[in-house]
Symmetry: C2
Subunit: 204 residues, 2 copies
């Protein structure tokens, strides 16, 4: 692109570095901000600067938090003996939105992915093992994406945790609610027949 | 969404205010920035702050510029008697990328749109009239979008400029290169038959 201004070009380059934002979108966003009053733009940049400077992670579950221990870990209403292991804070938000879960979390911060150079030591796995080792945990639910990286990570966690005598579960895989059978891929369909559940349990 | 952190929520809200960025995308972008080193994030916010603080607009054509007069207006190689009127700086970039145009520009900063409360006085129309009035201009090419707002603006500009004895042109409308006839809408097809050009001209 031919930029008439170096400042504009730099701002577009910075936006273009964000995931899923191409040059044209970056330019559109930057020109939008340029049309806004200066206070709007400084509010935008300040929110990001503050986030980066002041954000903390819960010492127990490693979720994003404003306090040393996050609200979920600190809540006496939640089952402290139940841990749901997730990839990142978005998954915590998704599960919290279901209103179906009353235990705690453990945020790994990623998935094991040798292709991307992410090994077990880059993730919050040791601290999970320590939490389980410390006792008082009766079940660990592993809620990771159904991808190769997710499956590798589940397998690794299972090996690390299986000797502590806690129940290790994974979330159910199968046909989504509202999904039509004929459009489901064969792996999912085959697995969901193999892992069929008694009807009484499916409506519980 | 249930945010575990106010800081995170604020940053997501700010991103979500950008055009075409929903809550989920905003969260994805913010979490991406959160994973980056602090220097990356400050480079991002600084580029935006500097852009907003230091950006200038060319005193002649009102295009975004780092200098008082932009590179195009200052260039002795360009035809100063030819002005191409566009909506914003993106259009200047698009036309410059064609390498087909060697005149100057005039950036209106928007289109007349009563629905959005944008009237002629909100745009750089008076300064265009003054440029033409000052003399030395032989042709004004109006290159605006083929929308109702674009057509309204062209009509207004035509009324304002027609008495100065300059040629006023609009860019050609018609079937795009590579466009298949059967998929063209009937307005475009009808107009492109009405404004047909001699074959010799079309291959010039």
């Amino acid at each position: 692109m031919n930029f008439s201004s170096k400042l504009l070009e730099q701002a577009v380059a910075e936006f273009g570095r964000l995931p899923g934002v191409g040059q044209k979108t970056a330019l559109r966003l930057v020109l939008h901000l340029l049309k806004q009053p200066e206070t709007e733009v400084s509010r935008f940049t300040e929110a990001l600067d503050r986030l980066k400077r002041e954000i903390r992670y819960c010492a127990t579950c490693h979720n994003v938090s404003d306090t040393a221990i996050c609200g979920i870990c600190a809540s006496p209403k939640r089952d402290g003996g139940l841990i749901c292991v997730v990839e990142d804070t978005r998954d915590v938000m998704a599960i919290e939105n279901t209103d179906q879960y009353q235990g705690g979390y453990h945020v790994l911060g990623g998935l094991i992915s040798p292709m991307d150079g992410v090994g077990p030591s880059d993730l919050q796995i040791d601290s999970l093992v320590k939490r389980v080792e410390a006792g008082g945990i009766h079940e660990v639910i592993v809620a990771l994406s159904a991808t190769m990286e997710g499956d590798t990570t589940i397998f690794y966690l299972y090996k690390k945790l299986k000797d502590f005598g806690v129940q290790i579960s994974t979330i159910a895989r199968g046909i989504a609610f509202g999904g039509e059978l004929e459009y489901v891929d064969e792996v999912t369909l085959g697995r969901s027949i193999a892992t069929r559940v008694p009807y009484e349990r499916s409506i519980a």
